[in-house]
């Protein structure tokens, strides 16, 4: 995000005249609405906002947001976005990618945009499938996913997008899912973060990978399956009605997380951890918690800003230019020169 004068807009101002062309019921609709709802709350200026995407269902996103939009080529959106930010750091860039676009063909670029810490919001829509190309398994598909290219089930071990991001050096990692009411909060936090802010959004592809996230998105069981993290708050989940309140604690002997029961709201005694979004080690543990024995960690998992790439580049450009005259004539005549009579000169 950038320091800019807030602009008053409504959700309508962020809609384009283009017909939205995702499959009916696709999780992308919910994400689009969440974004369009969030942008006015951020005071964002449509003229200073750029949505950049690669290729895939998710990457159609820019066509539907009334701002600047660049639908680029498969996997390379982070590189385009980096060029945009270096050329004009005042632009507020949102990058839209998917599990195939961002982690398969574009894994390299995603790694480097995170490592460099280019200031932008990166939304990775993870539906664990290639939707646009009709349903092949993706790098996040679980082992055994049957698809046109894996009729006997996939055998690749899946990638964990947030673990990838953190491993690549991301300074902000958040997780949400398409229809979660907390998604706008995650987006706002990402926007508030100076630097590359990575948000994994679980997205339901109802055509090719329907309800694959139902395990934790299912409303009924949400309380015991979702751990929403808030900086400074204890890591509590569950409900009194079903199974009781639980918390996440650190098993010091094994250096692992564990689930503990919380009796009478006394989470301190149960040893429940207080979420510290600046703790990179705990962030790793939270991201790697296997769903099932553990709830799914959601919300802002890690948020510890560091200087951004483009500010460092600009700073260096300014420092390198300081006191230097940008005279092309002098530049061309630089170094050891001579006139035809053989006189050596050095104009510098």
């Amino acid at each position: 995000m950038n320091d800019m004068t807030p602009i008053t807009t409504t959700l309508k101002d962020w809609e384009t005249d283009q017909e939205v062309r995702w499959c009916p019921g696709c999780g992308d609709y919910a994400i689009l609405k969440a974004v369009q709802r969030t942008l006015p709350q951020l005071g964002a200026d449509p003229a200073k906002t750029v949505f950049v995407s690669g290729i895939g269902c998710s990457s159609r996103f820019p066509y539907y947001v009334e701002s600047y939009g660049f639908h680029t080529i498969h996997g390379r959106a982070p590189a385009f976005a980096t060029g945009i930010k270096l050329a004009n750091p005042d632009l507020d860039v949102w990058l839209v990618t998917g599990d195939g676009d961002g982690l398969s063909i574009g894994g390299n670029h995603l790694m480097h945009v995170l490592r460099r810490n280019v200031n932008m919001q990166i939304m990775l829509f993870n539906n664990e499938i290639y939707g646009l190309t009709k349903g092949q398994f993706s790098p996040t598909s679980r082992i055994g996913t049957t698809s046109p290219s894996t009729p006997l089930g996939s055998i690749d071990r899946p990638a964990n997008p947030c673990a990838f991001a953190l491993g690549a050096g991301a300074r902000f990692v958040a997780r949400a899912y398409d229809i979660s009411k907390e998604l706008p909060d995650a987006l706002k936090a990402a926007h508030a973060h100076q630097g590359a802010a990575f948000v994994e959004i679980f997205q339901n592809c109802i055509v090719y990978n329907k309800d694959v996230f139902e395990g934790f998105t299912d409303k009924k069981n949400a309380p015991q399956n979702q751990l929403w993290l808030t900086d400074g708050e204890p890591m509590l989940f569950g409900s009194e009605k079903s199974g009781g309140i639980k918390g996440i604690a650190l098993d010091l002997d094994r250096l692992e997380l564990k689930v503990v029961d919380v009796a009478d709201g006394n989470w301190q005694d149960a040893g429940v951890l207080v979420h510290n979004a600046k703790n990179r080690t705990i962030a790793h543990l939270l991201i790697e918690m296997p769903f099932g024995p553990f709830p799914m960690a959601l919300g802002v998992i890690y948020d510890d800003p560091a200087p951004t790439f483009e500010s460092a580049v600009i700073e260096q450009n300014i420092a390198a230019s300081a006191g230097k005259e940008a005279s092309l004539a002098k530049l061309l005549a630089k170094g050891q020169t001579w006139t035809v009579d053989g006189t050596a000169q050095d104009p510098n």
Partner: protein
């Protein structure tokens, strides 16, 4: 000064064969055994007294410095080049780096050479066969010997011809002593020992002291060609500002080499040669390599367009030098970005163009292949972009450090879909400046990616450059669209009379719009797959590029019509020009046409070519441009091809021209064979087994500070 110890192992003959070289030598050089004794020096002095009067100085001389990659031959060559320029001679140089990053010392594939052709006449190539070969070790001698003109002079550091180095170079016997060099004149002496002696007072370690060998050699060369040492001494003082003792040691070595020449002259074998200055337009000059020239041209182009320059690059031989140069020019509004790969480099450049800067990327063949999809996007979204391709031998990793012009198909045709793109080709290091400006102009005026073709030869070669006045170039300032262009509507693809769409900088208030790689509506730019629309857009893209105003093709040398036109493009300019000049001197009706605008072609080219009975097209590929011209103009042309990773020699093209006038039908064109005399080429490498060479496909050869020699 006392005469230094010296060994003379020259063939027994009275005069050397090459007439040009006669002036180097005072007279007969006798084989006088391995040890030089006082008496023998006296004999030589006597002989010197008998030597004939100086003959006429040659018009031009070719000198090649060859040594181990660690010997600093590029630096020696660079400084010798500068002194040549200061002496007012015209010149052309060609450095030849070893392909291996740090090849084992003393091996055949670790040899690095630098060739300079200079003279009192117009010089346009680095020369064919060298007249003088400076060989700093056995490997350098072995690799370069075949190149040397019969009767040419070998200067060898006998101190490096020990058993170990002879073994590494696969010599069974010491060539300095076994009479195998009888075809040439040989001056062998222990440069290593002489250098150690000269730098003794400075207390350097043995290794550091030996590093001054190249300056010793340079000193000798400066003496041979009657050059002033002062600029080099100044340069050394500047270079070693932080280590004055190193500066002084190097200067001492330089002076010792120079003094050695003087003493040797007195004693007989060498003579000073002075080549008079060439007539040149008055003005300020400097030497420039193609890589520098491209960089400066890009900076100038961006200034003429009144735009900041964004350069996205990724290390690759021989293109990295452009990134290195631009990275030092930040005060000119240049941002350089070393990306994670070739693809990211071009994509970031397109992103920068989208945000209103002039996006530029550069690479060589394999990297260009990777950028191809992104170029298609720039064509589709009609954003300015300059892509510099410093061509090298291909396909695949090919010959990273050798030159070729085999990416012409790739440049003109090599994209998916109907994806037309202008292509401009530089013909020399200095010309690359003009071409880079032209590429910037086309990109910004026509909203299109443009490819600028140079090659390994142009990138590395240096030539004198009359420093142009930037004010003499017509500016082409860019106007961004600031307001809606159709009443209340914005039409991002509404074209101007040139067929170019408006450039709308992301961030401009009120002009929000979306673009991308999917086919777009002819005016709104919204996604539109309809058949009529795709037909219309394909035509518009094609017509825009074909309609680019390209200057009419001229004839560089010769008549506008006639018996034979030799048509070239790119770095073949020098050899073609010289060959045509010589053929015309011999009375042949030949013209030289050199094409800069490869795509779209000059409108008059077809008609111009039709005015010649025959057309010969020398190309360092298998005939790619010939295919284009045949397709466009139905020109019947013969190819003269060369794909040995070497530039053409003048002689090869002269020979090919002669075949049109020899009365024999059907022998025209063909392939110029590999010429062992042209550029140093490792004799072995892979078959060595002991030292498997490393792949330098994506890396700059380690030239240390060498490349900076002439670009301080």
């Amino acid at each position: 000064m006392q005469a230094p110890p010296m060994r003379l192992l020259a063939p027994q003959k009275n005069f050397i064969a090459a007439a040009e070289l006669r002036t180097y030598f005072a007279g007969p050089i006798q084989a006088i055994g391995v040890h030089l004794a006082r008496e023998q020096e006296q004999i030589m002095a006597t002989k010197a007294a008998e030597r004939p009067a100086d003959t006429q100085a040659p018009e031009a001389v070719v000198v090649r410095f060859a040594g181990d990659s660690g010997d600093g031959m590029q630096l020696t060559g660079g400084q010798f080049t500068l002194s040549t320029a200061l002496a007012g001679n015209d010149l052309a140089t060609f450095p030849d780096f070893p392909a291996e990053i740090r090849a084992p010392q003393g091996t055949l594939f670790g040899v690095s050479a630098f060739q300079i052709n200079f003279g009192s006449t117009q010089i346009e190539t680095a020369g064919d066969a060298p007249d003088v070969l400076v060989a700093m070790n056995p490997a350098a001698l072995k690799v370069n010997l075949a190149a040397l003109k019969p009767g040419g002079l070998i200067i060898a550091d006998s101190g490096e011809f020990g058993q170990r180095n002879l073994d590494k170079a696969k010599y069974d016997r010491n060539p300095l002593e076994d009479g195998s060099l009888v075809k040439w004149d040989l001056l062998a002496f222990d440069i290593s020992a002489l250098t150690l002696e000269a730098v003794k007072p400075f207390g350097l370690g043995n290794k550091e002291a030996l590093r001054c060998k190249n300056m010793w050699t340079l000193g000798l060369a400066l003496w041979m060609f009657d050059r002033d040492r002062e600029p080099i001494i100044e340069w050394l003082r500047g270079k070693f500002r932080k280590a004055p003792e190193l500066a002084e040691a190097n200067i001492a070595a330089l002076n010792a080499g120079h003094a050695y020449g003087e003493t040797a002259e007195i004693s007989g074998p060498l003579k000073k040669l002075h080549l008079p200055a060439v007539e040149a337009e008055p003005g300020l000059y400097r030497t420039i390599t193609g890589a520098e020239s491209v960089s400066l041209g890009l900076v100038a182009g961006a200034q003429l367009a009144e735009l900041p320059l964004f350069f996205g690059g990724y290390p690759i031989t021989p293109a990295s030098a452009i990134l290195h140069h631009l990275a030092r020019l930040k005060e000119f509004g240049v941002t350089t970005f070393q990306a994670e790969d070739e693809i990211a480099a071009v994509c970031a450049a397109i992103g920068a163009s989208y945000a209103g800067q002039l996006g530029v990327t550069s690479s060589s063949g394999p990297g260009i292949a990777l950028k191809t999809e992104a170029m298609g996007l720039a064509i589709m979204t009609e954003l300015p972009l300059v892509i510099v391709n410093s061509q090298r031998g291909g396909p695949s990793t090919g010959l990273p450090t050798k030159t070729e012009q085999s990416d012409l198909y790739q440049a003109v045709y090599g994209r998916n879909g109907d994806a037309p793109m202008p292509v401009v080709a530089a013909r020399s290091p200095a010309d690359a400046f003009e071409c880079a400006i032209e590429a910037c102009r086309l990109a910004t005026q026509y909203m299109t990616p443009v490819m600028l073709l140079t090659d390994g030869y142009i990138a590395n070669a240096a030539e004198p450059w009359k420093v142009p006045d930037p004010a003499s170039y017509e500016p082409f300032p860019v106007t961004f669209l600031e307001e809606k262009n159709a009443g209340d509507d914005l039409l991002p693809y509404k074209r101007d009379e040139k067929g170019a769409r408006p450039w709308i900088k992301a961030g401009t208030p009120g002009l929000m719009h979306r673009i991308g790689g999917i086919e777009k509506h002819v005016e709104t730019g919204n996604i539109d797959y309809s058949p009529a629309n795709h037909q219309a857009m394909t035509d518009l893209r094609k017509n825009k590029i074909e309609g680019i105003a390209v200057p009419d093709q001229d004839v560089v040398l010769g008549n506008q019509r006639g018996a034979l036109a030799v048509v070239g493009w790119g770095s073949t300019f020098g050899p073609i020009h010289q060959a045509v000049r010589r053929a015309r001197k011999a009375g042949l009706d030949v013209s030289h046409i050199h094409v800069r605008h490869i795509w779209p072609l000059p409108k008059n080219l077809g008609e111009l070519l039709a005015g010649f009975d025959r057309v010969l097209m020398p190309e360092m590929n298998t005939g790619q441009f010939k295919t284009v011209l045949r397709d466009q103009f139905l020109v019947q042309a013969e190819s003269l091809t060369k794909t040995s990773g070497q530039p053409f020699s003048i002689a090869e093209i002269e020979e090919a021209i002669a075949k049109y006038f020899d009365g024999i039908l059907g022998n025209e064109g063909g392939t110029a064979p590999f010429d062992p005399g042209q550029l140093p080429e490792p004799l072995s490498g892979y078959d060595d087994g002991t030292y498997p060479p490393r792949d330098a496909g994506a890396a700059e050869p380690n030239t240390g500070s060498d490349t900076k020699a002439v670009n301080q």
